[in-house]
């Protein structure tokens, strides 16, 4: 999948004549290759969920281009079935995203009915296999259970199974473990990684937690106020962050260390901007410890600063 200069705006009406524009995603270009995981890391309101929804066509882009398997699907709306079989999304909340009145069997059969009516020889077998793949085993034990009978981690596996059952080529996983207990998070992510390795799926992993992105992705794109401010190989971005926002974000992540309580953390002041009224120039400049002359006037462009490592910041021009 290739996203080029993708923009997703929400238009809100305020009063009779005023229209507010929320520039949730404002010119993002990214590539997702077979068998690779790209993490989209950022804080609330940076547009990461909108980016995910736009790329699987749950939300219409305002501008830009989405190319999938060589096809321009930006404005495709008639034959969406073709695309839905190939691109799936997994949402954050394992408690709200499953219909409580449907058994696991029903939940997993639904996408087969909707997207493959009659084309799957033995849906039950396919469902059992997929349950095994997400390690809800033995599958017979889960088929006729209802979501409330499962733990959070098990529910999230059902969510993953529901996405996998159509054998997608591209999956958006929007904070798939943020509601799951710390001791089980790594389990879900490891499972994900294994499945992805086996199936060679391309994955967009959306998270606010750069430390899980570290273990789970090949590339990281850091988003701030609707834009990608830094992009590169995961280890490169984490070990050698270039954008002052990325640097601050990494410094903000708590680490289990008894020495921490004896020192203050270098923090980024302020809070992420409102996407209705992002600051002019570089959107991070009001919070940036390194801002200088051009930052409040000229918007920096994403540029390759080191091989494969891109950053949008005037410090590197």
């Amino acid at each position: 999948m290739e996203l080029s200069n993708l923009k997703t705006y929400y238009f809100l009406r305020k009063g009779l004549f005023k229209r507010l524009v929320v520039r949730a995603v404002d010119g993002v270009s990214l590539v997702f290759r077979e068998g690779e995981i790209v993490s989209i890391v950022g804080e609330s309101g940076c547009g990461k969920t909108t980016l995910g929804k736009t790329s699987v066509k749950l939300v219409e882009p305002y501008d830009g281009k989405i190319v999938f398997e060589g096809k321009d699907i930006t404005r495709m709306d008639g034959d969406l079935k073709w695309f839905r079989r190939r691109a799936q999304i997994i949402f954050q909340d394992p408690f709200q995203s499953l219909n409580p009145y449907h058994s696991i069997f029903d939940i997993l059969k639904e996408p087969l009915d909707n997207l493959f009516r009659g084309e799957v020889d033995d849906p039950t077998e396919k469902i059992m296999k997929t349950l095994e793949e997400v390690r809800l085993a033995p599958p017979e034990e889960f088929l006729y259970k209802y979501p409330h009978m499962l733990s959070g981690g098990q529910r999230q596996r059902v969510n993953i199974a529901r996405a996998l059952i159509v054998d997608p080529k591209f999956i958006v996983a929007d904070e798939p473990v943020s509601m799951i207990d710390a001791s089980s998070r790594a389990e879900i992510l490891t499972l994900f990684r294994e499945i992805q390795n086996r199936r060679r799926t391309a994955i967009m992993y959306i998270t606010h937690d750069i430390s899980t992105a570290k273990y789970f992705s090949d590339y990281i794109a850091v988003m701030y106020a609707g834009k990608v401010v830094e992009y590169g190989r995961t280890m490169e971005v984490i070990k050698n962050p270039l954008h002052p926002y990325t640097v601050g974000l990494i410094a903000s992540v708590p680490e289990p260390d008894p020495e921490n309580r004896k020192r203050f953390r270098p923090v980024i002041g302020g809070e992420p901007p409102n996407p209705i009224n992002p600051p002019p120039g570089c959107r991070f400049h009001p919070r940036c410890p390194k801002r200088f002359e051009p930052c409040d006037k000229i918007e920096p462009q994403l540029k390759e600063v080191e091989k494969g490592h891109f950053v949008a910041c005037h410090l590197y021009e």
Binding site: D181, A182, R185, E187, H208, D209, V253, D257, R261
Partner: protein, 317 residues
Amino acid sequence: MGLLLEVRDLHLYYRTIKGVVQAVDGVDLRLEEGKVVGLVGESGCGKSSTANAIMKLLPKNTARYDGEILFDGVNIIDLDDEIFRREYRWKRIAMVFQGAMNSLNPVIKVGDQVAEPLILKEGYTRAEAEARVKELFRMLNLPESFVNRYPHELSGGMKQRVVIAMAMVLEPQLLILDEPTSALDVSVQAQIMNLLKKLKELKRMSMIFITHDIALASDLSDYMAIMYAGKIVEFGTIEEVLLDPKHPYSQGLIAATPVLSRDVPPKFLPGNPPSLINPPKGCRFKDRCKYRMDVCDNEPNSIKLSDSRYVKCFLYH
């Protein structure tokens, strides 16, 4: 350094249609003046219930509430409700509730919400109360003028500062913070943690810091209490618990925490915590424990490993 709080064999059970929930089951805790204990555990293990038990805020369906809570030498469990309400709750022991920033009264200016107990409980005049609130705002890095704002005019981090101000306004000796940053962005979370550190130093306030995030707890805590299924399975100084965890659950929880600065991938703990209704006899962690022995079907005692540390596990009996 004086002992401020000593909790012994605290129980809080709830009556439900499905049975009795043993949310707090024989909890021991101790805290000195000016120190912070991190109460860490996964969702539903009884952290908030422990806090509510110390605040003596019990729901109608309480089935059992006993043990000892010695606060400054007085067993507040036995204390007359009226006396506790008048002389202890909010005045000497205060709490920032989980999710409190979303339950601020939307139609009252935040300054007035913070000032209320000063006027109602302490007999301050309006002007005196306002001066006091402004002083508090300054200390919490909130502009003084924000006393005249309504909750919706504040960002998440600002609202969290306001609810901290509400808990601190009567200068309690003990402040309980229940997940005070979990709804905030990492960069804002880091600001609040710095602020709490400053308060700890400046006011020499004792705190119980409740979180599911062991890394975050290490940012502030001198002691760490690891809670699992209604029990504190390990208690010790932060150095003891983080650097040399003894209980297999503490070990698992620490190993499951992803760390940005190190290259050890997180390992997961298989399984889920037991239900607190009819939990298994004996050690509640045994079904997930790789060291499980026959003897684990009995209740493990609290084993003292050092002056500051105890653990509940048969490996150390």
